[in-house]
């Protein structure tokens, strides 16, 4: 099997707010595939539909057109119960480590949550929690504490541990490092890579940051206004963008080097004046 | 703006329609043998049947209801079963009395709440603590106990006000004030407490907003920030509470009118309830619903003026 997940012409529409308002089309026919063990980066700005695509794969957004095939079977229109059975295969790590963990539950209860669904015994569950904490490099006695006792980076590690609890084959990572500080961000990205090398899990890695995506992704898709405008190997898309929008995105991100940033600034201005730049100006 | 008003009016109309329909069904179907109830146990079966036909109660419920609606939209809410009085007239005669109490208490609550609410939120310290304790007591103590205390102390013991009765403002403004002051004070105690708490809460909340810091950074004086920006933003939630308080006061007026022997809607409500005078009770429910809808509409419009987002939603 060479593809794990195959999205074909996925359309997501939210009903219009109010009487007779047209529905809002968040995704306008998006196609993308992920192979086992691969990281596919999804880059775009707010409103581009990147998060919606992630949520559609997770079954949290209404797919009104196209199909999402997972291991050869359409999962876009599953009933609630059948969808729940997929939990052990597809997991998630969200952006905000402060709201993705219930503040009133201990770490142990958060990590055993997916296990309870599988009727894992409590002794075995506790053992599994220790193992998971170890995998994400957290002290094994962290289980009795509450999320608020941890920093942002540690919380994101807990969220990753929760995602790993059921040994999934695909994890949707929705901006998992954008709320983190620079140094924490680098360490969490390393952890993502290390886990992938060890377990062979595939990632759908969503981010607004081209640099982060480049660092982690085998292939990269660039989204703009509900569509994928560029899609290909990571080094190609991020270093030699073809589509004007990707170029614009690439040139807009400031480089942490005063000399090179001055050059990029000039390139950005020149591009904005060109026809291609004008076509994708915000 | 006009669509906003039209929408609110329409939803208010639906509300009144639903309330009156439900009330009609409950009152007319739920009451059992009404004719027997009116005539008493000693009446003959024939007399009861006659009474039933006279009141139109022998017709199907739907037909009765349609007749009621037909009359109601023309402003005719039927006749009292016991006094024979026109319900519409009976209510209108007393509505002004009750409204003057409730509207007076609402306006008083709105005016009196702002200063302590803002002071408690902006000054903090002992002012805040005092305001919190007093408003909590005002909220906790049932209004009729306050009314009783006022009646005994200020009217009976000190003789500052007339303990009972009502003087029409057309006859004597001073006399009117003498009779309505205590009821209005009693009614507004809870309102003042509720609205003050809300004003305090929403001012505290508004002061923490980011835009307040930005306004200060532009060199605006503190008073201007508080009274122009913070108060306007805090006004919405406070008005919502005022609307709820109005409904509460309207109900509480029933008891307060009884204490001060004021001839308002409260008196006929209690009498009609005790007798089982269904058309009168029905009329009271409908009129109350209409008034509440109108007041809510007025408050909604005011909200829309305060906060542009409300207008669009």
């Amino acid at each position: 099997m060479t593809t794990l997940l195959n999205c074909r012409d996925v359309v997501v529409e939210y009903p219009g707010k109010g009487f007779r308002k047209p529905p809002f089309r968040a995704l306008k026919g998006v196609s993308l595939d992920i192979r086992p063990g691969e990281t596919v980066g999804l880059v775009g700005e707010s409103g581009s539909g990147k998060t919606t695509l992630g949520r559609a794969v997770l079954g949290l957004a209404p797919v009104t057109g196209g199909s999402i095939e997972f291991e050869g079977r359409d999962i876009a229109h599953l009933a609630r119960r059948a969808r729940r059975a997929l939990a052990s295969k597809i997991q998630v790590v969200f952006q905000d480590p402060y709201t993705s963990l219930n503040p009133s539950l201990t770490i142990e209860r958060i990590l055993t949550e997916p296990l309870t669904v599988r009727n894992v015994g409590s002794a075995e569950a506790r053992k599994r929690v220790k193992d998971l904490l170890d995998q994400v490099r957290l002290p094994t006695d962290a289980g009795t504490r509450l999320p608020r006792e941890f920093s942002g980076g540690q919380r994101q590690r807990i969220a990753i541990a929760r995602a790993l609890a059921l040994d999934p084959v695909l994890i949707v990572c929705d901006e998992p490092v954008s709320a983190l500080d620079l140094s924490t961000q680098a360490r969490v990205l390393d952890l993502f890579r290390e886990i992938q090398d060890r377990t062979g899990v595939a990632y759908l890695f969503i981010s607004h940051d081209l640099t982060v995506v480049r660092h982690l992704s085998h292939r990269v898709a660039v989204m703009y206004q509900g569509e994928i405008v560029e899609w290909g190997d990571g080094d190609q898309v991020t270093a030699h963008p073809q589509h004007p929008y990707t170029k614009r995105l690439f040139l807009a991100a400031p480089v942490p080097d005063p000399v090179r940033q001055a050059e990029r600034r000039a390139a950005r201005k020149a591009f904005a004046k060109s026809d291609a730049g004008a076509a994708v100006a915000g | 703006m006009w669509t906003f008003i039209a929408k609110r009016l329409l939803s208010g109309l639906v509300l009144v329609a639903v309330i009156s329909t439900l009330a009609f069904l409950l009152l007319y179907v739920g009451s059992g043998d009404i004719a027997r109830h009116i005539l008493g146990q000693s009446a003959t079966a024939q007399g009861v049947a006659q009474k039933r036909a006279q009141l139109g109660l022998d017709r199907p419920v739907l037909a009765q209801y349609l007749t009621w609606v037909e009359h109601a939209v023309r402003g005719d809410l039927g006749q009292s079963w016991f006094t024979g009085q026109q319900v519409t007239q009976g209510i209108l005669d007393r509505l002004d009395v009750t409204l003057s109490l409730v509207v007076g208490a609402t306006i008083l609550s709105a005016i009196v709440s702002v200063v302590p609410g803002v002071a408690a939120a902006t000054r903090g310290g002992w002012i805040d603590r005092t305001v919190q304790v007093v408003t909590m007591l005002g909220f906790a103590i049932p209004g009729y106990l306050i009314a009783l205390a006022l009646a005994i102390e200020l009217a009976i013991n000190l003789g500052w006000f007339k303990p009972t009765g009502y003087v029409n403002p057309g006859t004597s403004i001073a006399g009117w004030l003498g009779t309505v002051t205590l009821p209005i004070l009693a009614l507004s105690a809870g309102g003042v407490a509720g609205v003050t708490q809300q004003v305090r809460g929403s001012v505290v909340d508004a002061m923490r907003r980011d835009y307040v810091r930005t306004l200060r950074s532009r060199g605006l004086p503190e008073q201007r920030v508080v009274f122009e920006h913070i108060l306007r933003n805090a006004g919405g939630p406070a008005l919502a509470v005022l609307a709820v308080q109005f409904v509460g006061m309207f109900g509480a007026a029933v008891i307060v009118e009884q204490i001060f022997a004021i001839p308002g809607l409260g008196q006929i409500s209690v009498a009609a309830t005790q007798q089982g005078d269904i058309p009168m009770v029905m009329g009271l429910v409908v009129v109350t619903a209409i008034i509440v809808v109108l007041v809510n509409l007025a408050i909604d419009l005011f909200q829309g003026w305060l906060n542009p987002k409300v207008r669009l939603s």
Binding site: S217, P254, G282 | M136, A140, R232, V285
Partner: protein, 600 residues
Amino acid sequence: MNTATIPEAEISTAPAEAGAQLSLFRRLLRNPVAVVSMAWLALLILTSIFSPLLAPHDPNLASLQDVLANPSAAHPLGADSAGRDVLSRLLFAGRYSIAGALLTVVVSLVIGVVSGLVAGYFGGWFDTIASWTSGLLMALPGIVALLAARAVIGPSMWWAMAIFGVLISPAFFRLVYASVAAVRDELYVDAARVAGLSDTRIIARHILTVVRAPVIIQAAMVAGIAIAIQAGLEFLGLGDTTKPTWGEMLNDGFANIYSSPMLMLWPSLVIGVTSIALTLLGNAMRDVLERSGSASRSNSKTPMPTVSAEPVVTHGDADRSAEELLSVEHLTVLYDPPGGRQVIVVKDVALNVRRGEVHGLIGESGSGKTQTAWAIMRLLPEGARTTGTITFEGQDLSTVSPRQMQRVRGRKIAYVPQEPMSNLDASFTIGHQLVEPMRLCLGISRQEARRRALDLLARVGIPNPELTFRAYPHEVSGGMAQRVLIAGAISCDPDLLIADEPTTALDVTVQAEVLELLRDLQKELNMGMILVTHNFGVVADLCDTVSVMRLGRIVETGPVMDIFANPTHEYTRSLFDAILDEETSRGPLENDTTDEGVPA
């Protein structure tokens, strides 16, 4: 007047602790108000239960010779207008009041909580109907509706209280609905869904825990209202006269107010004190929950700076020719909450900005960079204390009066915030928010200020200034709102601009344009600028000098070129190491990880 008012739904922001009920009760025992309230309620319940043992007489035993008797050994509180013993009636009446209030609470709680959970969690048609019904129930004054019901069902106390339970159920419905709607879209609920939890499990695990504590508080409030309204109905003479009740006693006392004023005192006292006790208890519970919530929040957000004093690594100052605009020395900011521990967020910071210079203040979250910026403008939140000197154009801002400081803000030092949307007042047009400070600071006419505002909007790159001038903040995009805020900041020609993460909330492409705008304006107006950021790219783009902050201290400072070329402090170096470089990308997936080894 609270008797028929439904209390406003209040959501406690405090996170519900594991085992909230138990710990809530324990914490309540430490609150004197709560202890007194609970003691009164316990006394009331006990005396009511044991009223047959405690009461000296049959509560309904009428006695002609005791009519309106004064207190005596036989009748400790006297006798009423039918010669019945007041104390006995008071004790027995407690049973009906408590049972009636309980009935109301149970009915309203079951209806309100269940419908609130279902409507809030699932939404859809049930939500529409339930919300509308809740509005309907709230549109009728409780007493009016009860009077109507009384006309049909007669003087049954149980029915009245059950119906009142239905009428007041929106109090629970709206509370639960609001809590659930707030939690429903939380990411941890999404995570639970993805983990395969069923809806019932999610509700039990994540949602009930949130609503539990507020529901208990609301129940106390509703019980108080129920007792008051029950007594009110009986006072009107609409109750069941065969039972002794507080309201009926009140009625009897009121009828004999001239001959026997004491008759009214006892039922009034019991009703009043019970209502107050229930309200106070509810408030005490809320206080206890909120306090624990806010304490936990502050714990997580402000780490204690633990670095000991160490010399700041200072690179040579590149340009000494320009006039010094701002000089901060030994700036320390600390929070000293009453009853909490002292937290130092900025420690001994020194900072210099020259005219026309852009000074970057970079650091990770909690490093104190924003606190430093606010301290310079004296816009710190309440409870902050500062020491040190802030010399601006020769004047120490830390000692000037609030009035003088007000004149410095806007005219001399201006501020661009991080979040564009929350920093505009949603109730006023954008134009108003630009015109108002200009008229005050520059003393110009409305027309003049309006003309300037339109020029400014055009200058910051807003395509249609007239339209934006008339618009409300929610009608423009985030990028536009940030341009508006920049226009507002420069509207009174400041000498120093403090920009606090001005592009963090914006998309990358918008960020590039806003940075461009800031650079142009800074050059044009020759302003000094402090740019607070966490992004080295932004520093490289815009700044002349930079200070690196860590845990409330500046660790390294100097010209941007020097620091980027030669970061010296260990922490600065670690930050540079953490930057993901642009050159290495991961490349395509190697074929051997796919099962069949087929190249892509």
